[in-house]
Symmetry: C2
Subunit: 151 residues, 2 copies
Amino acid sequence: MAYEQLKLDNQLCFRLYTAARLTMGAYHPYLDPLGITYPQYLVMLVLWEHEKQTVMDISHRLQLDTNTVTPLLQRMEKAGLIKRTKGKEDARQRIVTLTDKGLAMQEQAKHIPECLSAEILNHIGSIEELTKIVPTLDKLIEGLKQTNNEH
Amino acid sequence: MAYEQLKLDNQLCFRLYTAARLTMGAYHPYLDPLGITYPQYLVMLVLWEHEKQTVMDISHRLQLDTNTVTPLLQRMEKAGLIKRTKGKEDARQRIVTLTDKGLAMQEQAKHIPECLSAEILNHIGSIEELTKIVPTLDKLIEGLKQTNNEH
DNA sequence: TAATTTTGCATCGTAAACGATATAATTTTT
DNA sequence: AAAAATTATATCGTTTACGATGCAAAATTA
């Protein structure tokens, strides 16, 4: 028999892992019509907030490394959502900007958050219960950033 | 400027996504010596609880599809952690069992959960705050399972 | 019993993640 | 200024995820 602490039901990380995957799945019906994936949607959110950003700005914001973000951006450029131009002052940098198509997509996307809230609300009862866990998740994320930096 | 609801900081899913990734990163120093990845660790947890399971048992337990689990199990078999035998009553099934090596790994792994708790505790203050969000995550997961089944 | 459907698993293709490494441009040091 | 170190991004290889499809064994129906 398993040690108590090794039981799957006692694992917080497994819950986060599952919740994250299933939530991404819930976005599918809304992102498919736009032709983007969930990570690409996150990049769009970042760019809709600030039009002009470097690869590093984006990867910092999403807590992803450039080796994940670069191919992501390359695919998005291919899809005509963004442009990647060489930086003028610093030629190492790549400046990422939205195309007209990328900018226009914001209008189609603006209802997605409320659609998702409504969908979850159908099955869970109260959205407040979910917003209540946000500060804890933020603390966890901050803690993990430090933990992971130490190794 | 972005619509308020489209701001990254207002996205619960982004938090789950980030928290899950960073937590998996925190497991790295403990799983590397064992030569397994986090999803493989999850499979081990499942098998340590019940020695003998079909591919479907495991994929149900982890909320993953067989097209994810099968290659995972193939790699784990190659690594000598599990065996996959054809089912006797039902020849379609694959019965997954632990090898001696896989069973023995439990002893090396039994301290991992407390190590991780301690590590997080260092940076976050109280573990209770984390356990408090578990019921909400469970409700969210259950709700999302249904939501995703409808589409 | 033969035909059909369903089920359990596997394979394929694509997109993430991420460690390791490479490369070119900038900074810092000598 | 030349050399060394750092920085920003990109490339490569492996492992996940997951939609789509295939296939053989069982279960169901005709």
